[in-house]
Structures are given as C-alpha cells and as structure tokens.
C-alpha cells in the first residue's frame, strides 16, 4: 500500500516535468481498496480496472516498470505506449484490462467470469468500478447476467463520493449502494474502504463463497481521493468540495490507519516505516529511471497490430 502511495506521489511530483504526457488519475487516498482486495487474490484470479487503474495494477503485482514506461509513452510500456495510463494491463499478473470509458470494463470482467464458469475453473474475477460507474446501464446489465448465471465475480465499487467534480448527491438519490446489487439478487456489502485489513478480510470471505458457486457479489468500499480527479495536484481550492470534508477524510488516510494498526498489533514503529519508505523509494526511482530512459516508439510502428 505504501508502495503504491509512493509510486503515485512520485508521479505527482514528476508530472510537472511534462514528460508524462497523458492523463493520470491517481488513487492517493484510495489504496486500501486495491490492496485489501488484491492481497486476497491468487495470481490466477483476474482483475479489470478503469481510468483510475494504477493502484489496482500495482496491487495485483503488475510490473511497475512497464506501467511507468506506458505513462511516459515509451515502447517498453505495457501497451508499447499506445494506451497510456488508462489502459494498464499485465496479463501474466492477472491484470487483464483497464478501460478508459466509464463502466465499459464491467462487462468485460463479467465475460471473464463467464469463461471460468464454462471451464469450471476456480479463479475469481474482480471488476473494479467507481461510484459513477453505477449510473451507466451496462453496470446493471452485467449484474443481472452475472446473477442468473451465478458467476464467480466480485464487483468492487470504490465510492469516493465524486465523479470528476460532481458529488454523488447530484447524480444519484439517497439509498445504500447495496440496493443496486439487490435489484439483481446480487448479495451486497458496504464497508469502510480505508481499512485495508477489513477490506481484505471481507474479500477473502467473498472469494470463498464465489468458489462455492455462491457468487456474484457487490462490495462497496467507502473512500476518498485526496488529489484532483485527473492530474497531480490538490484541488480543494476550486470549490467543488470543502476543506472540511477533505480534512475529515485525510484523517482516515488508509496508510495512516494501517500504520496505526501495525504499531498497535505488531510493535511496528516510525523507524521501521521510514526504512520501508526508503527502500521502496529506491526501487521506485529505478523504475522511473527505466521509464525515462526507454525509447519513444518509432512512428513507423504505428500501423502494426491492427489485425490479428
């Protein structure tokens, strides 16, 4: 989790160099969702993500170098620089696809679960989505289909209260997100998305159920993004959300929460934390250097791979 945080903070820091020339949607503040869920998974389980894909990709052990190279637009990126930050994937790690159009990957994830069902294999698919995604019809269409076919899939909704700069209350009526699943007889749970241990615990339970043919599930994780919707900065100044709200959530920063838990339970201390940070930062810096040094794709490659 700290690893992801540090990666994204370095992206934020270096973004102003104008060398990462594509949109970036940072998950800073939301990492517990990605980590809590993905830590419960095995390598064979698959995840599908959205425009905000960094944390999911990394939590599922997607290759950091390939991710950064992709954001830097380099040929060594996971898409050879063709997709940018919203298309991250790493098949070998089970990060099957990230898709920039809101909700578009929900159906793909459902297809992945259908595949497992037909093959009678036991891996589970995770479909990451945001609170905005549930407004797209395809979300409901997918849940209905998963429900009739009892597919081994968990739809994980990270409710960060906003779609771009618009608050949930302007986009959806007041009701629990669980009702969205229940409309399709999909068992639904909502919980604190900033507590990585809790998220992990619940995910493990749901995975077991999925493997017993008791899927699908809808898991809603309440959380908050610290930075702007897209880009490296804080944006409390532009007026769509209050400083108070921000501070409230900042206190619940998942890294902080987890650190406290570690200190309480495992005699972890500040020094351990600093050491960990340092060693991670080192590793991360190497990856950044790799990405920066990698070559831009040659224009002549542009016409390749249109057809299989």
């Amino acid at each position: 989790m700290l690893f992801i945080r540090l990666v994204e903070e370095m992206i934020a820091e270096k973004y102003k160099e104008q060398k990462m020339r594509c949109p970036v949607h940072l998950s800073i503040g939301q990492e517990a969702a990605a980590v809590g869920v993905c830590n419960a998974l095995s390598k064979k389980d698959r995840i599908f993500s959205t425009h905000r894909s960094h944390s999911h990709y990394l939590a599922k052990n997607g290759d950091l170098k390939k991710m950064l190279a992709e954001i830097y637009g380099k040929l060594s990126g996971c898409c050879g620089g063709r997709g940018g930050s919203m298309h991250l994937f790493d098949k070998s790690a089970g990060v099957t696809a990230s898709v920039p159009l809101v909700s578009s990957s929900i159906a793909l994830a459902t297809g992945s679960a259908l595949n497992s069902k037909i093959n009678n294999t036991k891996e589970v698919t995770i479909s990451f989505l945001g609170d905005g995604s549930v407004e797209e019809g395809i979300f409901h269409e997918s849940l209905n289909f998963a429900s009739i076919n009892k597919l081994p899939i968990i739809y994980v909704c990270e409710n960060n209260l906003y779609s771009v700069y618009t608050h949930l209350n302007e986009r959806q009526p007041l009701r629990s997100f669980n009702k969205l699943g229940e409309a399709h007889a999909v068992k639904s749970i909502t919980c604190d998305g900033n507590n990585v241990s809790k998220v992990n615990e619940i995910t493990l339970k749901l995975l077991k159920e999925c493997k017993k043919n008791k899927g699908p599930f809808l898991l809603t994780l309440n959380t908050y993004r610290h930075r702007e919707h897209c880009g490296p900065n804080y944006d409390n100044n532009i007026g769509y959300r209050t400083e108070k709200e921000f501070k409230h959530w900042k206190k619940k920063d998942p890294i902080l929460v987890f650190k406290k838990e570690l200190i309480r339970k495992y005699k972890f201390n500040e020094k351990n934390f600093d050491n960990l940070s340092k060693s991670l930062t080192k590793k991360i810096s190497i990856a950044f250097k790799y990405a920066e040094k990698s070559k831009l794709p040659n224009p002549s490659l542009i016409s390749k791979y249109v057809y299989a």
Partner: protein, 366 residues
C-alpha cells in the same frame, strides 16, 4: 468455396440452414466456440440458425442473452480475451446500435492498443430485417457504419455455400467479425457441401465474366444484378460482376483490374448510397484507375431517407433491377433503344412476388 465435385450428390438447402451448418461445424471443431442470443434455443432460434444447438453441445456453451445487447457484447469480448470464441446473433442490425461502444472501442481496438497481446475472436451476426412492414428501425443494414472502423472485419454473405464457408472463416478468424446477413438471403437455395470448409473473407469473388462494365454488388443485390446480367446478355452487354462479400478490409485488386478492362464501374450498395461502401470503392477506383475510366463511376444504394413500413411507399425504394438498368442505360445506348422491352421483362419478373416478402412461403408476422 470448394468446387462442386459430385453433381449427383448435391444437397440443395437454403442459406439459413447453410449458416446453421457452418456454426455447428465450427463449434464441433473448436470447443471454445460459444453461442449467445436472445432466444438462442427458443422455438424460433434466430430464424432457425441456432436451432437445437443445445442438443449437440454442452449447454454451458449455449448462452441465453437477457435484453442487454451492450453488456452481452462486452461479455463476449471479455470471454474472448481468455480464449473463448463467442458468436452473438442479433435478430436485427439495429439492436447492435446499443452495443457500439463495446464494438468500436473494446472489440475493434484491444488487439491494437495491447500491441497484439489481446485478441478478440468474436463473431457478431446481424440480420437485416427488410420486408413485411418492418419500418424505419427494423430494416437498416448499416454495413457502412461498421466498415468505417479499423480493427473490425465486415462480411456480407450472399449464396448458401459461400455463407457457410464464410461463417466458418469468421469463427476461425482472430479478429472481431461483423456478419451482415440479409434475411432474404436466408431463403436463397443452393448446393452446400456437407463438411467443414472455409471460404476466404479477404476479397470479392467474380461471379460473371464480361468486358463491358464492372458491377460490384453484395448480399441481396447480387441476385438483382444476376438477373440484369441475364437480360443484358441478349443485347450483347456482358457484365463483369463481383459479389463484394467483404466490406472490410476492402480489397479492391480484382475490381481495379476489371475496371482497367471495362472502363466503367457501377456499385450497388445494400445500405445507403451516401457514405456507402460504394463511395469508398468509387473514390479508390477513381484514384487508381483514373486514366482507364471512360465514364464517371455510378453508385446505386439506399436513398437518403429511412425505409417506411408501408409497401405503398416502396416501389422505387430499394436498389433493384430497374434502378440498375436505368443507370446502365446511361452507359449503353442499346439499352435506351430497347428500354421498353427490357422493362416489360423486368416487370414480369418483379410481379412474381409482392415487394415486401422474400419468398412465396413467407406470410408474416415478422
């Protein structure tokens, strides 16, 4: 299309059965083939084309689709990322309009964006609903819409044997293939070999050899052109007639060769004339055969308005024998001279069936 070998053993079946055979053969050969449709195993089974599949294959491979065209297309794409070869069948082309985000973004581009790491071997069968008062939203063909999109393949089979082979090729293909099936072509009967075989889905096929004019048509329009070719032969006009078959990728090598010989080109589009496949063909041919063209190329296609329900409106609506003759008469004075008798012959043929049914056996209701 394999050569006919044994005349005595010819099985004559309609296009819809040929397509069903293609689906079955391909699914027998590759267990990754799965079927999705609304009413996939219902008593009608997509005009009979998916009939009794559940008796031949594991039920898990036959997937009843809720009325969720968009998600179900995404489901097919997602499953195809993992090795499945889904075939989606929709009763009307228009239902795919709900799924275009999935088709244009995820299906067409995933192979490209992933540098070939993903592929999307899905087949999307779309049926043109022409006839019996289907009206403006149940009778479009829209092959030009799909053909605009790099990464898709778009095919429009005409004859049964070719249709079977093309369907098998489409299923074997590692790209998303959109099949525009004209339901009137489902009624066309012909010999269809009783085995697994492929017909290429790369380029047009010449179905008549002639030196006077090149005509490129597809799907039902090929039948209209064949009739025209028959009549005009009597007047010593020989058409170099192509069944286009494949709208994307558009491989025009054979057509170019033909136009260099004939100097004249007519395209007959299933869908709209404006921004139709014919527009692309004419532009391309004009560019590469400019000095060979004796006359400006001519496009025939659906006019620039929707197709109303009532047969009352439809007399001069579809590209048909009459329209083709009219355009040809601009190129050949002999047609003008014999216009009346040609039209009488056409009238005779046209009156055999009302304008809104594909076959005498057709009695509605949809």
């Amino acid at each position: 299309m394999p050569k006919k070998k044994n005349k005595t053993k010819q099985r004559i079946i309609p296009g819809s059965e040929a397509i069903r055979e293609g689906l079955i053969e391909a699914a027998k050969k590759d267990r990754n083939v799965i079927f999705q449709a609304e009413g996939v195993s219902d008593p009608s089974s997509v005009y009979g084309t998916t009939k009794n599949l559940e008796k031949i294959f594991n039920k898990k491979r036959i997937i009843e689709m809720p009325l969720s065209e968009n998600a179900m297309t995404g489901v097919a794409i997602g499953a195809s990322f993992l090795g499945k070869r889904p075939i989606i069948s929709l009763h009307r082309v228009e239902f795919a309009l709900l799924a275009l985000e999935q088709i244009i973004n995820n299906a067409a581009k995933s192979h490209y964006t992933s540098m070939g790491q993903h592929s999307v071997p899905i087949v999307i069968r779309l049926i043109v609903g022409r006839g019996w008062g289907q009206g403006p939203e149940h009778s479009q063909s829209l092959e030009n819409l799909f053909s605009m999109i790099p990464g898709l393949k778009v095919i429009t089979p005409t004859f049964p044997a070719d249709a079977k082979g093309m369907i098998i090729s489409a299923i074997e293909d590692n790209n998303p293939v959109v099949v525009i099936e004209h339901r009137w072509c489902h009624y066309i009967k012909g010999h269809v070999p009783n085995k697994y075989y492929k017909s290429q889905i790369k380029e047009p096929i010449k179905i008549k050899n002639g030196k006077d004019v090149t005509i490129v048509a597809n799907s039902l329009n090929v039948i209209e052109c064949l009739f025209v070719a028959k009549i005009l032969k009597k007047y010593k006009i020989n058409i170099d007639l192509f069944d286009l078959r494949v709208c994307r990728p558009l491989e025009l090598g054979k057509i170019k060769k033909s136009v260099k010989k004939t100097g004249k080109l007519i395209t007959v589009d299933l869908g709209s004339k404006i921004l139709g496949i014919g527009s692309e063909i004419v532009s391309e041919i004009t560019s590469s055969c400019f000095n060979y063209l004796k006359k400006p190329p001519i496009r025939i296609g659906m006019p620039d308005y929707p197709t109303p329900s009532s047969r009352g409106y439809l007399k001069n609506h579809y590209p048909d024998k009459r329209k083709i003759i009219n355009e040809l008469s601009k190129l050949f004075p002999i047609i003008k001279k014999n216009y009346k008798s040609i039209m009488i012959e056409i009238d005779k043929e046209s009156k055999k069936l009302p304008i809104d049914v594909p076959d005498p056996s057709f009695k509605g209701p949809f």
